[in-house]
Point group: C2
Chain length 249, copies 2
């Protein structure tokens, strides 16, 4: 059971990870601008263990999800603080379409003095996934590394089957995510997985039995990404005959 | 055909839309921090027109997607500029897990002098969708408004069927997205849709015939969100008997 304590939130104008950019452009002659962030493409992998007939997911504490839930428990939005002066820049840029999702008002630093939800509010079930941040590796090679590091299975690249690709976060990052399918067996198991603790990763490897997968996918009380839902259904439609599944969708 | 010109990219430290925050916390006694952004929850709607047996999607120019593709065409990453000094803050924060996706180096302002891809590189097919930014409206009411504004169909709230919900952008925003299904007919058509031009929205309403839907879903040359793919498959699995579909998944 995860314990989350001593929570403090501060505005962050110099993040090493989240760097907003602004693009000015003309669309059919109309001047516009849009704020976005550069990020890496990513890969995700639906892992099916043919020995145990289970899907292998990762479960981890996601601070961003947790903060969403914390926000939800508050009676009202925080008051704007002195750093609201930051808005001046945007106000001086009248051609910014107001249709762009607007960040909620910057609050004063919030401390753990406020009541906060249990750690479970920030735990999510996800596909094994990783960023495409190594230019010399193929998508399949990066996917293979993630399966090994996060879930402990050593899968040959040739066994990775590409499912499809799509755009994520089209309003903010627009990066491309490519999804793979990997069948593994206990013979491929070389470690417990769990990510790279020295990089701050704290990942729990979770198995979802095949016969429970569709119920899991549509159970909204289980926090998960759309990738989990989509890939379980993809498996149901494409792999069912092979594994003789009888499930309700 | 969209025309995109006069593109200029600048670092943006005072975005009114993208406001990074940093949360400091203890996880099982270990001090950590994570940079995230607050955003609104959202709704999306799979619309099926029972008169024409077509899905109704929206297609729009997404600057973030376009910039991803522009980045991809460059021979190498831009050189770090003077604003790289912003990294100092993060460096002074040693407990930031390096596992957090790191923003690519801030470049010098880039201008339209550089060759850039055609506008089509930034166009994406998406479900009709919108932000949950009106506290007094239910998710269904917000979904109804989006269907009306973006696609021009006036659908009674009672006809919106909840498909499921999930977490989006778990690394950065972690917001909850709820997906609905709406059957419409030409009788529900009250306008051309197209969004709110005064808010900068420039949305094209696109119909995908039912019998082409699964091919569309898995055609990677058509840029789209995972919501489109998932919802088409959901329909195939759940509505096929009703509409006598014969498609390959």
């Amino acid at each position: 059971m995860e314990q989350i304590n001593d929570i403090q939130v501060v505005p962050c104008t110099n993040s090493n990870y989240l760097k907003p950019f602004r693009v000015h452009y003309s669309q059919n002659g109309t001047k516009k601008s849009w704020d976005f962030m550069r990020t890496h493409d990513s890969v995700s992998v639906l892992i099916f263990n043919t020995t145990s007939h289970c899907f292998v997911l990762v479960k981890q504490f996601r601070p961003a999800v947790y903060m969403c839930e914390w926000e939800r428990t508050k009676p009202k939005a925080p008051e704007p603080a002195e750093d609201a002066v930051k808005d001046e820049g945007a106000a001086a840029n009248p051609d910014t379409p107001s249709g762009q999702p607007q960040g909620q008002a910057a609050g004063t630093p919030e401390s753990s003095e406020l009541p906060h939800p249990p750690a479970s509010a920030g735990m999510t079930y996800e596909l094994c996934a990783g960023l495409v941040d190594k230019a010399d590796l193929s998508l399949e090679e990066i996917a293979r590394q993630e399966v090994l590091e996060e879930c402990g299975y050593d899968v040959p690249v040739a066994k990775l089957r590409r499912i499809t690709s799509y755009r994520s976060g089209v309003g903010v990052t627009g990066a491309k995510q490519t999804m793979f399918y990997a069948e593994v067996s206990e013979d491929n198991r070389v470690s417990e997985g769990g990510g790279e603790p020295q990089e701050g990763e704290l990942i729990e490897v979770v198995k979802v039995p095949l016969h429970e997968a569709m119920t899991f996918a549509y159970d909204e009380s289980i926090p998960k990404t759309m990738g989990v839902i989509f890939s379980f259904i993809w498996f149901h439609n494409n792999m069912s005959p092979k594994y003789k599944i009888s499930t309700n969708v």
